[in-house]
């Protein structure tokens, strides 16, 4: 749709350099704004409609997609939170994501530091194996992974899930941080060790603080990615009591069938989105900045 409007703009754009704001210029601007506004509506309307529907009764939802709720039923949120178990799943998600995020960030930062600062035999092999984990389809690994966790008795437990989350976020995080540690001046680490700091202290007190911007960016990307993780819990964590939020939402929608409380289902969806929305509003600049930085590498 964009391509059909741009050509009409071309004759206006070309022959009018440096004459204030000719009519053609304004037409191009208006057309661009129209198209971008339409796209914004395509994004926003389904989301806002979901929020509105989350306050309706099932009957109101089926009566008309547009009607406002007669009363704003906060009850739907309470129902979803307690009756459908969203509250419990929410808590599981918070525990799993928080632990996995800390473990991932710590181990990946440490490994990336060693890989970037020291030269040793096998270094490029390790790098390539970590890279391989990024390109292989996770689906190939989930079947055996199920049995690996079963053998060590961690299937259907939150610690098992935390380990799996961390292991699958590890390669991406190491690669993201490698470029940050490689750009840090090596002289500073040298200076620290000449001053008598141990290798451990050099990392924790000198190098890690300097990599803070990179750590923050990748932590946010991981936070969102881990919160949204679905495949790993569905395969490795099949006991309803231990469901994480994405799983709980899926089972709520599928077990629902016909007599489900659709208002509560929408409320559950809104509550799943809300945490990432808050993170997004606070950190959107950094998040978009790290996406942009990635494109220039």
């Amino acid at each position: 749709m964009t391509l059909t409007t741009t050509p009409t703009a071309r004759p206006a754009g070309a022959p009018a350099p440096a004459h204030g704001l000719p009519a053609g210029e304004r037409a191009v601007g208006a057309a661009s704004h129209t198209i971008l506004s339409l796209w914004t509506l395509v994004i926003a309307v389904p989301l806002l409609w979901t929020v509105m529907s989350s306050f309706k009764t099932s009957r109101e939802i089926f009566a008309s997609p547009f009607s406002l709720p007669q009363t704003w039923r906060w009850q739907n949120y309470a129902d979803a939170w307690t009756t459908a178990g969203i509250g419990k799943y929410f808590l599981n998600s918070v525990v799993v994501v928080a632990c996995a995020l800390v473990i991932t960030m710590l181990t990946a930062a440490m490994s990336a530091y060693v890989l970037s600062r020291f030269d040793f035999p096998g270094r490029s092999l390790i790098r390539n194996l970590i890279l391989a984990g990024l390109t292989f389809p996770i689906f190939l690994a989930v079947v055996p992974l199920f049995f690996v966790l079963q053998q060590v008795g961690l299937l259907n437990t939150l610690p098992g899930l935390i380990m799996a989350y961390s292991a699958y976020a590890y390669p991406f995080t190491v690669f993201f941080l490698l470029s940050f540690f490689e750009e840090l001046p090596a002289e500073i680490a040298e200076a620290a060790s000449i001053d008598g700091a141990s290798e451990w202290r050099t990392f924790f007190q000198v190098m890690l603080p300097m990599a803070r911007p990179g750590m923050a960016s990748v932590a946010i990307l991981n936070l969102v990615g881990l919160w949204n993780q679905y495949l790993l819990p569905v395969v490795l964590n099949t006991v309803p009591d231990k469901f994480v939020l994405t799983q709980g939402l899926a089972s709520f929608s599928s077990q629902a069938g016909y007599n489900v409380n659709f208002g509560a289902l929408f409320a559950a969806a809104v509550m799943t989105i809300l945490p990432v929305l808050i993170v997004y509003v606070i950190f959107q600049r950094r998040l978009q900045g790290s996406v942009a930085a990635g494109s220039l590498k």
């Binding site: 964009t2 741009t6 703009a9 071309r10 070309a14 350099p17 704001l21 601007g29 971008l36 796209w39 395509v42 994004i43 389904p46 989301l47 409609w49 979901t50 529907s53 939802i61 089926f62 997609p65 181990t107 060693v114 890989l115 600062r117 030269d119 390790i126 890279l131 984990g133 390109t135 292989f136 689906f139 190939l140 079947v143 055996p144 049995f147 690996v148 292991a167 699958y168 590890y170 470029s179 090596a186 141990s198 990392f203 969102v224 949204n228 679905y230 495949l231 395969v235 939402l249 899926a250 929608s253 799943t272 989105i273 993170v279 997004y280 959107q284 942009a292 494109s295 220039l296 590498k297």
Partner: protein
């Protein structure tokens, strides 16, 4: 991501790096063990080892509950090649692999161009006013959990109470009344693709805006002085300078499109009308965890991995050929 990672491995020899200058002290050995060896062993056990195991299981008839795994050679693979449902799923996955990246990248490139050159073209190359608002909104779907996106769009597509048919009928398209977008084999796949594209366009718009801004401003100035309009600038200047970003984006989107499990399993859990939205990953999941045929499921996984590698190889080869042609053109 592949591109990002591959580059430093060859080009970093020049930087000063510690190498055997000091003895192997306890301090340094413990650092190596705790920082690299332990995390890497965990990664090997939970990520790399399962991949290798999957390759082995694919040659057995293992059901997951027997102690021994009977080696049956390539039987699983020959069975899959004669399995119409699986071949249908492969076809659908390949369709997604072609269509999803193409639509997403074209749409997000167009939007990125609007955001960057849509504004006034006098003076310096400036962005459109208020463009950050559009970027903030359109990026958001990328971080919404896919499962929630799926549930929302399953409701949007609902034949009678859905938002889409509500809007279409009120605009006067009477034929849209009660039309089952996800329940009709002719539209189910297209409707699913639309949801995936909706999710990713904003992310790649942000990426492309950054890439366009990274192009030296003099190039745009020169093009404008030569009388190039916006469309010409977009096609002849912006697009070729971004081939690296486009290639990484294509690979990333392609790998995602081959998975796409969450979206498809929420929008049409059973594979859709006449299996029109059934994909490989859904087949792997149901074969392994519903039917308990783990050997067969692993064979499917191996085929999926092979498709992924062939795809990545093709994208790199095409990028190389295109790069060579561009060079030849410049020399001429």
């Amino acid at each position: 991501m592949t591109v990002i990672g591959a580059a430093p491995a060859t080009g970093r020899r020049g930087t000063p790096r510690v190498r055997g200058r000091r003895r192997w002290t306890f301090d340094r050995i413990s650092l190596f063990v705790v920082f690299l060896v332990l995390p890497f062993l965990g990664y090997l056990a939970l990520v790399i080892y399962p991949f290798l195991q999957a390759a082995y299981y694919s040659l057995t008839s293992w059901s997951g509950f027997t102690a021994t795994q009977d080696f049956i050679g390539l039987d699983n693979y020959t069975r899959l090649l004669g399995d119409d449902t699986f071949l249908k799923a492969v076809g659908n996955s390949l369709t997604l692999l072609v269509v999803v990246p193409l639509l997403t990248l074209v749409l997000s490139f167009a939007l990125a161009c609007l955001v960057t050159f849509g504004g006034s073209s006098t003076g310096g190359v400036r962005g459109l006013r208020g463009s950050s608002f559009y970027r903030v909104v359109s990026f958001f779907p990328y971080i919404v959990p896919a499962i929630a996106t799926g549930i929302i769009f399953a409701a949007v597509y609902d034949p009678s109470a859905g938002l889409l048919n509500g809007i279409l009928t009120s605009l006067g398209f009477g034929s849209a009344e009660n039309y089952p977008w996800l329940g009709d084999a002719s539209t189910a796949m297209a409707a699913t693709v639309a949801v995936i594209v909706w999710t990713f366009v904003g992310f790649y718009t942000v990426l492309f805006v950054a890439a366009i801004k990274g192009i030296p401003a003099e190039l745009f100035e020169a093009a404008r002085l030569d009388g190039a309009g916006r469309l010409r600038t977009a096609v002849s200047i912006a697009a070729p300078s971004m081939s690296g970003a486009v290639r990484s984006a294509y690979i990333y989107l392609g790998i995602f499109a081959l998975d796409a499990f969450v979206f498809l399993s929420v929008l049409n859990p059973g594979g859709g009308p006449q299996n029109s939205t059934l994909v490989i990953t859904q087949q792997i999941y149901s074969t392994a965890f519903r039917q308990g045929r783990f050997g067969l499921a692993c064979a499917m996984g191996v085929l999926l991995a092979i498709i992924t590698f062939v795809f990545v190889g093709i994208v790199f080869a095409v990028g190389k050929i295109a790069g060579r042609e561009k060079k030849a053109e410049v020399l001429r």
